[in-house]
Symmetry: C2
Subunit: 346 residues, 2 copies
């Protein structure tokens, strides 16, 4: 994770003194576009883009709200900036698209320090840059709580975007990376202490600055090996339901097949948590959940980790709709797998 | 203004019971795409778009926050939905682009009634539909105050988007419609009473559901008669500064030339307000401020009102940068015109 060095470009005066246009100018100076599609970035009523044609674009948006998605006690503004763009890139990755162009809206409380705004934009710009994304515009408004919204355009080969609805009966179900780290990291942030101290920083980092699986998504599109894909933002148990439902199928997941990191396993043991619960229902891992036809499974398992730098694991298969979504436990015991992912209204 | 009939599609249970996915399904059902560019709308990690090529796209975003941009005492959720999409369409119109594809994020307080959410989406969908816009995705989250964000893509003929920076020395400055109505409407909402009762509903409507000048913007691009354009969201005095600055010029505005509606003039008189102040500094008119070379002025004044259904008025001309932005008063007295538009941090 690369952090851009903090430069003193916002004077230490209050945001209200600087005013909205000061902030827009700041953004404009900091964010020169790199993608050829951007004819004009920040500074007009809208950005001007020129699609090169012959490709498809994907468009996604995500809003993060203080006190719901993050709190400023445990998350720095820099981390928030990084995460804001990361969660949108993750949606792009789930479609197999290359993220390219974003607009950012931010609602800022009056007493939010200008240095924190600068830090937020540093994180945003740094992570956008790492993934080849240009910030081409935005809106800056006052708000009672900090709220940030990104809308992101990505590009994908014509007709080849991965959707949730493409899974076929019998397809293998796979996930990238490991599951439950982010939930364990959130637990750690909420339960400070010395237990499991060795792994807390890593787990907390997984929660605060998730790395979107852009390269994994691109691999799946370029290799043509996958039939469907979704990112795990609300927890595996929720996302597998979405994928099954949209594909008109059921699914079975082997609990013993779930990829659990040593760090998460250790933390769960130390804290008396059930690692399986964290892996199944913990949100915000931003790993990819995808399906591949059985004949492709060997090739995916053999080539994908090496070419993407991220492990993949087969965790189950797509079944007939009538069987629903089931979890197969240690001794082959089946039970319904209920969606228990995070829901913002519950 | 057409209001869609309220249908009982959200049961009268609390939002927390319905859950986030209930809301997403609601959106999905209500918003089938019409633009050919939309291959897949709501329901996946991102929408899939296919630009037809050979045109430019514009991208803009706007955030509205409860208590800052609207209050739910004087604005209905339906009106808020309409305004949310309208202010983004206005940015598109200022570029001369045809609005096409939008994503919407909404942060909803826990106790916000489901019927109000339904009404918000009715307004949003109704106005989006009126202007040919497809809502192709979004995000629905919990928040402490109601906050809505739209990101909007529009399409414009290749290389012909209107910017703030294209004005030339000597160009005539024009505005569509009338100025200050929205500010007078806001004043009326904040000062209930019987004075000026005849015109209050009209002025308040101008504030609550502004009609974006899409057709005027399209006329300017199609006719090739304009050199620059900006929409008046923060007030004429602010926007003329942006336009002059971006074009590297100064500007002079004739106070007697400003288009003031009879309703606003009457209301100002009744309430002891200065109509000139409202017209110069009142925000949220969402009229277009644009420049045309002098040789085009006659044609614009002659043809544009008939072809767009919206009056246009010449209010000044672009001058050398050194002269700054000046206001020419009744007896030819010049004084600097300071930007006094609304600033969210002041």
């Amino acid at each position: 994770m690369k952090r851009s060095k903090t430069k003193k470009i916002i004077p230490a005066e209050s945001l209200s003194k600087m005013g909205e246009f000061g902030l827009i100018n700041l953004l404009k100076d900091k964010l020169a576009p790199h993608n050829a599609e951007v004819l004009k970035g920040i500074g007009d009523d809208a950005a001007i883009l020129r699609p090169k044609g012959g490709t498809d674009w994907v468009l996604t948006t995500d809003m993060l709200v203080e006190g719901r998605h993050f709190d400023l006690k445990s998350t720095t503004p820099w981390e928030l900036g990084a995460k804001t763009i990361a969660v949108n890139i993750s949606d792009c990755a789930a479609m197999g698209a290359k993220p390219k162009i974003a607009v950012i809206s931010i609602g800022i409380p009056k007493d939010f320090p200008p240095a924190a705004v600068q830090s937020f934009y540093d994180g945003l710009k740094g992570w956008a840059g790492n993934f080849g994304v240009d910030i081409v515009g935005g809106d800056t408004v006052g708000a009672g709580e900090l709220v940030v919204n990104v809308a992101l355009l990505g590009e994908v080969e014509k007709g080849r975007a991965l959707t949730r609805s493409g899974a076929k009966l019998g397809d293998a179900i796979l996930v990238t990376g490991t599951l439950g780290d982010s939930a364990a990291g959130l637990h750690s942030l909420r339960h400070p202490g010395s237990k499991g101290a060795e792994v807390r920083p890593l787990l907390e980092k997984r929660h605060k600055t998730p790395v979107p699986r852009m390269i994994s998504g691109r691999f799946l599109v370029e290799s043509r090996l996958a039939t469907s894909c979704i990112d795990i933002s609300d927890g595996l148990s929720s996302e597998i339901h979405h994928l099954a439902e949209e594909s008109g199928l059921g699914a079975e997941v082997h609990s013993e097949g779930l990829p659990i990191s040593r760090s998460m396993g250790y933390y769960a043991e130390e804290m008396g948590l059930d690692p399986l619960e964290l892996a199944l229902h913990g949100g915000e891992d931003y790993e990819l959940l995808f399906t591949v036809p059985l004949p492709n499974l060997g090739e995916v398992l053999r080539t994908m980790p090496g070419q993407t730098g991220v492990p993949v694991k087969s965790i189950g298969r797509m079944t007939a709709k009538a069987t629903g979504v089931t979890l197969i436990g240690a001794k082959g015991v089946r039970k319904p797998l209920k969606a228990k992912g995070y829901d913002h209204f519950k």
